[in-house]
């Protein structure tokens, strides 16, 4: 299939792109890597009046470290994140996660901003943003605003972005000393969206884990933080504590039933991943479940 006809404009700056979106009045959409937008257009799951191409805005691309903050331009491609020494050093969680995002051909085009704006519940990156406590920098007709990741992802493909706003950058606190990251996902076929995945970061302290953020993806309508389970795991590790945290996932998550997997299986896999995560963060040899 082919996309329905639309107009195309190439923006030279963020300001110009915002103006185009304003004029487009809801019928305009940004084109970043096109790896989610173009399939949706071609499959005619959506149509639009104006495509605003922001791929030429060089200012939106790049990775910088400023003080304790990692700043990533929204148009930075997945492939750039994967090979970036800054990301590897200061956001190892993101480095691990990116390797699971699609295939090289798609990573060569897809961007972090497009991925987050798309807000696919099975995507790795929104979960990483929540686990890392990211701040999203947004520009609209009335200037810039900053939104915490926790307030950005609202639901299935839903974000806090207004139709005339552009996500311009992502700010991540750099990995603090003592912090460790865990990432694992399960897909039936390599490179596919996960049925269940877990992005986590925390500070192991003896046999407790402080400041733990557990975020599942592929489970429920958006990336799901699990504060209840994380709170339990702040206690000294024991099989009983782990079991309690695993049980708490039932309250934290709302797994869906679909033809890929049943809700019960998703919850089971989520619990298994939690055990693996705790063991890995605590540096414990893992006993098989």
């Amino acid at each position: 299939m082919k996309a329905a006809a639309f107009n195309y404009a190439r923006a030279a700056s963020v300001d110009e792109a915002v103006q185009m979106l304003v004029r487009g009045g809801g019928g305009a959409k940004l084109l970043a890597g096109g790896q989610s937008l173009l399939p949706a257009l071609n499959l005619r799951l959506m149509s639009l009046d104006l495509l605003v191409d922001i791929t030429g805005i060089a200012a939106l691309r790049g990775i910088r470290v400023e003080g304790g903050t990692l700043k990533i331009g929204a148009m930075t491609r997945h492939a750039d994140l994967l090979t970036s020494p800054e990301i590897a050093a200061h956001a190892p969680l993101l480095a691990k996660a990116i390797a699971h995002v699609a295939h090289p051909a798609i990573r060569n085009r897809g961007t972090i901003g497009g991925n987050l704006a798309h807000a696919d519940p099975a995507s790795e990156l929104p979960a990483c943003m929540l686990a890392l406590g990211a701040t999203l920098v947004i520009q609209g007709p009335s200037g810039q605003r900053r939104v915490q990741a926790a307030d950005f992802f609202l639901g299935l493909y839903q974000t806090a972005l207004a139709p005339d706003e552009i996500l311009i950058a992502i700010e991540l606190p750099a990995l603090a000393s003592g912090e460790r990251a865990f990432f694992h996902e399960y897909a039936r076929r390599m490179g596919d969206y996960a049925i269940v995945g877990l992005a986590a970061q925390g500070k192991p302290a003896g046999d407790r884990i402080d400041a733990l953020r557990l975020v599942y993806f592929g489970v429920g309508e958006r990336a799901g933080s699990c504060p209840a389970a994380a709170r339990i795991l702040q206690q000294r590790h024991s099989p009983a504590i782990l079991a309690e945290a695993q049980a708490a996932l039932a309250a934290d998550l709302q797994p869906q039933n679909d033809h890929q997997a049943s809700a019960a299986m998703r919850l089971h896999l989520a619990r298994t991943l939690l055990a693996r995560c705790v063991n890995e963060l605590l540096g414990r040899a893992e006993a098989s479940a």
């Binding site: 082919k2 399960y186 076929r189 490179g191 596919d192 298994t272």
Partner: protein, 740 residues
Amino acid sequence: MTMQAIGKPHSRVDGRAKVTGGARYAAEFNQPDQLYAVVVGSTVGLGRILRIDAGAVAQMPGVRAVISHLNAPRLAYQPHKGGTDPANGERLHVLQDDQVRFYGQPVAVIVADSLDHAERAAAALAVSYAGETPVVDPLDAKVQPVAPQAGRAGADRSRGDADAAFAAAPVTVEASFDMARENHTPMEPHATIAAWSGDRLTLWSKSQFVVNEQAEIAAIFGMPAANVQVICPFVGGGFGTSLRTWPHVTLAAIAARQVGRPVKLVLTRRQMFHTTGHRPRTLQRVALGATTDGRLTSLIHEGSGETSRYEQFVEALTSTSGFMYSCPNVRTRYRLLPMDTGTPTFMRGPGEASGMYAVESAIDELSYKLGIDPVELRRRNEPAIDEAEKLPFSSRSLMQCYALGAERFGWASRDPRPRAMRDGRLLIGWGVASASYPCFFSPASARVRLLADGSAEVEAASSDMGPGTYTSMTQVAAETLSLPLDKVRFSLGRSDFPATPSHGGSQTMSSVGSAVRAACLAVQAELAKRAVADRRSQLFGASIDSVEWREGRLSRKGDAAAGPSYSELVTGAGGSPVEAGASAARDAAIAKQYSMHAFGAVFVEVSVDPDLGLVRLRRAVGAYGAGRIVNPKLATSQCIGGMVGGLGMALMERTALDPRDGRPVNAHMGDYLVPVNLDVPHLEAHFVEEQDPHVNPLGVKGLGEVALVGMAPAIANAVFHATGKRVRELPIRIENLLDV
């Protein structure tokens, strides 16, 4: 010049055309003034069409015709049974009545001046139905199994008393298996461009069987076959889905006639899950009895497979069970499960792949019960002859395959205990299974023309869906004529070329190859006959028996001096091409003397993540006894492709139907899982030396199907070895291993 074209790893002669876009596929034969057709499929799974609001859609931009049973021509649908059609039942008569027999059945076709307009109108066409709930699950209590009416497969067979022997056996295994429905999902979609010129019809149409498509469309329209021409030089993957002529071909022809212009019709990926066949879901039971030292005393194999209500699709589900093992008491039984679905069709290894999954899994279970290595168990039950037919095998190298495969795989270092082998936290499993597929050889013809420049043109209807027919036939002709490869041009894919059987059943190399060889010999004979009769020739007057072809030159027997070349002879005779055709077919007497099959042994290693139930194939070695290997490079690639197909069958492929209406819910490449590169590890194919003078003049057995058969049971057996858990369902999914 000593020619040796056969047996060399030549690269594909059409490879460059394929990678540069020069190869033209059905949908690329755009015609001047062409219009576009889009099929509208039923949105209920069973019932009757009540109303079609064609009026509104006919007014939409660009729409030229809205064709449904309300206004479609009544077609002749004369009796026609091609070799790939079910022997019993009647094909779907498209747009001939208001009945809906399965979800997605074509109920209308829109013709418009662009694809966009046609798609838009197709989406807008309102069709209302009196819908009923279809039966689409073989486990549904409403399904009534039926015995296949006299078809190709003699399915219910018995020797000895298998049930009594089973009851008396000291060691037994009894198990039931459920294999999912699969769709072929080739890369190239089904596509037809139809153009009428008066009462003559040309179809550029994706087909693995152009001569049948010609005959069938002629029968459907009630016209002479000579008035239909089918053209298909390239097939972008088939796996069996383009063996039959499905309704969309007829629809394209109806549409083109209605609008009086060429019409192009391409099925969407989703539509390919509706009306272009599938591997039927099968339910099977295997019961084995054995002595404590591992001699089989009883083998019972019962199976059933889905079919439609209007045709009986019969496959070879139980047909290898009679000859794979030496066993005095064997009983097989095969039933069909008619349901409200489109008719299934042949898919790579049709029947054998499913049936051998069940039996090879059961044999593996038996090996653990007996405490005998699974390779050794097969050795102990290796038959001397085909005990079902009571005939010797023309050749059978199964044990050599096991020896070669075991050596290349390193089978000797296997720890036989389940869950004993590990790599870190991963459980490792090694599994093995046998493969077999019959050596078919159907009547085929070919034509050869020798040109004045010394080159040869070879033609046969045939097809090349990927195995490399272009290359292998070029090799056969080059070898037979003692010409370099680049002096031979082989063409295929036209129904006016000499007739050949379906490009399925692993019989193209044997059948078409034998015909090409025969035609090359015939053209040499023709040229020799002319040479000795031609005053201008230096061999004028020689008796035909006193000359022979040596390395492409016609020479006097016993005379070391080389005689004239093709070019000299053709030029000398005036320069116009010399042509001859010939046919080849299996000697009926041979067919009664030998049981003819290819065999293989497949070894695999899997890893299983014990917590996640995640199975990954880590490596596989297939060893095959397939007669003479015409081109080791192509053969290896074909085997690897088959192994990937078996991997999909074992771990991924499954068409899921909505129980309410029979809609395939995962009818696209995102959700119908076929392995991607990252899922495919190192795969090795090896061939044992095998000379079989009986199967056909070339001694080739065919590889396409045997390469897929055996892979799925080997993986299932490896999963058991890794986990200690026997999964009797395909594909094996994490649900099966985790019990959730």
